[in-house]
């Protein structure tokens, strides 16, 4: 079909998909066949094909979260063949393309599995726990207006770049889903690092880390045991160094806390 790629042979695939009516109901795997899948399709376009097929047969289509389909909004999820966001490193499910699969493959598709992420339906989970952690302190307390000129706060380029790297987290939850402990440390550390690195964020660095970690624990996320599957599966390459920084920030805060 597309591009200049001559080896675009359509594929037939077997899908094993987790179906669950709602949070209260039990779920199970269902098997579906999809035919004539172009290697140029994205994984979610393949799911669209499945859903159109199901709909024509009068079967409820598979619910899955997705929105921007360009790898940045963090809404898509899916555990594909036992991997968060599928087999390709550094890629969200929406950016995964079918050329990574072969004709005749069986593909297993499950929702994120973690205690704090209850299944809402099929492949959709509730990730609001992550928002609540952000609300606990993932900000700099400035109101609109009355701030200094942007260039009055010079920031060394290396620091700004490092803060940016941490700030690229898309809050998709793959780190939690990939972790055997269901830990959200990589996610939390990304925000803590970004703001602790920047001069604007230093004022509240201690209370921020204390409050965000407290909320993380309250939500029921597991502890970190330094396995690193979070960083290995992170679609945007958030580094494990952030977890080291989170630990430093947290320990520093606990010895010198202003929360007295």
């Amino acid at each position: 079909m597309a591009g200049n790629n001559p080896n675009s042979k359509p594929m037939n695939l077997t899908l094993k998909v987790w179906r669950q009516k709602n949070f209260q109901s039990a779920g199970k795997m269902e098997t579906y066949q999809v035919k004539d899948i172009s290697p140029e399709m994205s994984f979610l376009e393949m799911m669209d094909v499945l859903n159109e097929d199901l709909l024509r047969q009068g079967i409820d289509p598979v619910a899955f979260d997705h929105d921007c389909r360009e790898g940045i909004c963090g809404m898509c999820s899916l555990y594909i063949n036992g991997r968060a966001h599928g087999p390709e490193r550094g890629t969200t499910t929406c950016q995964l393309h079918m050329r990574k699969f072969s004709d005749g493959d069986t593909i297993t598709i499950e929702p994120w599995r973690a205690g704090p992420f209850p299944v809402l339906k099929d492949l959709c989970v509730d990730r609001s726990a992550m928002d609540r952690i952000q609300q606990a302190g993932g900000y700099i307390s400035v109101n609109t207006g009355g701030v200094p000129d942007a260039n009055e706060i010079p920031i060394p380029k290396a620091i700004a770049d490092k803060a940016f790297d941490a700030a690229t987290c898309i809050q998709c939850g793959a780190c939690v889903a990939a972790c055997k402990n269901g830990s959200a440390m990589l996610f939390v550390s990304a925000k803590v690092s970004q703001l602790a690195l920047l001069p604007q964020g230093k004022v509240e660095r201690k209370t921020r880390v204390e409050n965000m970690v407290a909320q993380m624990d309250k939500e029921g996320f597991g502890a970190c045991t330094n396995i690193g599957s979070c960083a290995a599966e992170c679609p945007v390459g958030i580094s494990l160094e952030n977890i080291a920084m989170l630990n430093r920030e947290y320990i520093n805060a606990s010895f010198t806390s202003e929360n007295v």
Partner: protein
Amino acid sequence: MILDSKIPEGPLAEKWDKHKFNVKLVNPANKRKYDIIVVGTGLAGASAAATLAELGYNVKAFCYQDSPRRAHSIAAQGGINAAKNYQNDGDSVYRLFYDTIKGGDYRAREANVYRLAQVSVNIIDQCVAQGVPFAREYGGLLANRSFGGAQVSRTFYARGQTGQQLLLGAYSALNRQIAYGKVKMYPRTEMLDLVMVDGKARGIVTRHLITGKIESHSAHAVILATGGYGNVFFLSTNAMGSNATAAWRAYKKGALFANPCFTQIHPTCIPVSGGYQSKLTLMSESLRNDGRVWVPKAVGDNRAPQDIPENERDYFLERKYPSFGNLVPRDVASRNAKLVCDEGRGVGTTKLAVYLDFADAIKREGLDKISQKYGNLFEMYEKITGENPYTQPMRIYPAVHYTMGGLWVDYNLMTTVPGLYATGECNFSDHGANRLGASALMQGLADGYFVIPYTIGDYLAQMPATRVETTHPAFQEAEAKLRADVDRLLSINGNRTVDEFHKALGQIMWDYCGMARNAEGLQFAKQEIRKLRDEFWKNVKIVGVNEELNITLEKAGRVADFLELGELMVDDALNRNESCGGHFREEYQTPENEALRDDENYTYVAAWQYTGENQQPMLHKEELKFENVKLTQRSYK
């Protein structure tokens, strides 16, 4: 109806300051007595919700995504303009104003655009204070680049992810207010109707996307920050869920819809590869700073790009526009790509693409430098196409990206419904017939952080703080109508899926109301859309019930609205017998195929009023007065 834009008197540069002094204020202790609804949590919505809550108002914010941070502002790549003149290259508030008016092909309001340029400088300060990690120079100060045809470097950026970083800044401010209890956040909740009491916007009716629960929310004012309507084309760079439903239902309640035919087709997107395609991905405009756009000179040249010698290539933008070259504005670049493809000189298997070639840039600056600048974009291109843009040119084609049209608003950003405001892409106000690169982020944040917080106070200060209960008949009627609409959709049980209707509509819009339009095609499109809409209500297939997460039901409601909005876009394109910016009527062009405006007859905003189902809408005109800028033919030669 007489459209009163409420532009303040006085010299351009003093209007906003004067207006800020003249607006009435709500006493700080009284602000907590007023409730404001904000629909949408992109740049315009999140910034407004956070700022209004900081001021002391009670805010209820709504988004259809699972988190406010996922709004599609997050996908903006290139940057945000601001007249900081940090580069000492001759920029000023006036120059940003002038460029925006000219870039919009003289179809925007002077006063609004000047205010936008004025507050642009505050936005950057605000974002930096929030911890937005903009790109910096080695000295630690902020970096800028030139963008989208600007002759000065006024664009602030965060690699290719500026929208993400700005939205996360606004999201963090919003989170702080959620934690304080000043904002109540309703994610996975879709606004499906506007509720009016005594002629004023007093609330909304929503559907919860997980439970199907239909609910009423009352307030003293409602702000729509729901983005654009590009998904009427099915294929666009919008997110899958981006929709026009909130704005459209407000239109049906009396808010005028302005310039609906002004859509922006972005020149540098990854081309369509097949019928299964669900969306189009933008490749940042910044690529045109170094990439050269070309097609083969000969029709039907099927050789691989590297086999086509230099003298058999047509760098058509450089040839036709020597002074701007590959950096001409978006509408000009898109139209020219279409022209060469129409001539049969397109590339790739579909022949609906042109090359964007980095070979010269790599030779000139080295692989490392190019990779530093565009690494993430090249990677994204390779993921989607399976081709390596370091060794072979990218294939690009224009795609629907942004809608300049939207709900008509006055200088206060209020629609024609008292108490109903529209901000960001949802309104029509600042970009005329064509938006400049890096100006959408600027407008969204300007409206939310620095305009609406002042102007909404003026309205609230003049109304009593008494609340309307959601037991009021107006809410009950709206809820009942909504339930009836849902039941009607669920009872059709036809044979064609919602996506099939949406794709069919998109094809009509793209073919007849896309990059080039003509009267005959538009008339044909109008008939086709009506036929399709009739069929939709007889033959659409939806399974399941309301009381669950029902992805086809929620899509069906949005597509039903697109099927009406599409016709209004066609009406507007038919009415405007001129070419300007993104609106190119084939009948009105210069001998060199450039857009030919008709300033004598069309220097107005076309604002359409809903008159009833299947009735012809009524046109109202807001004359545009240019007191500071002289109207000229845009030239990028």
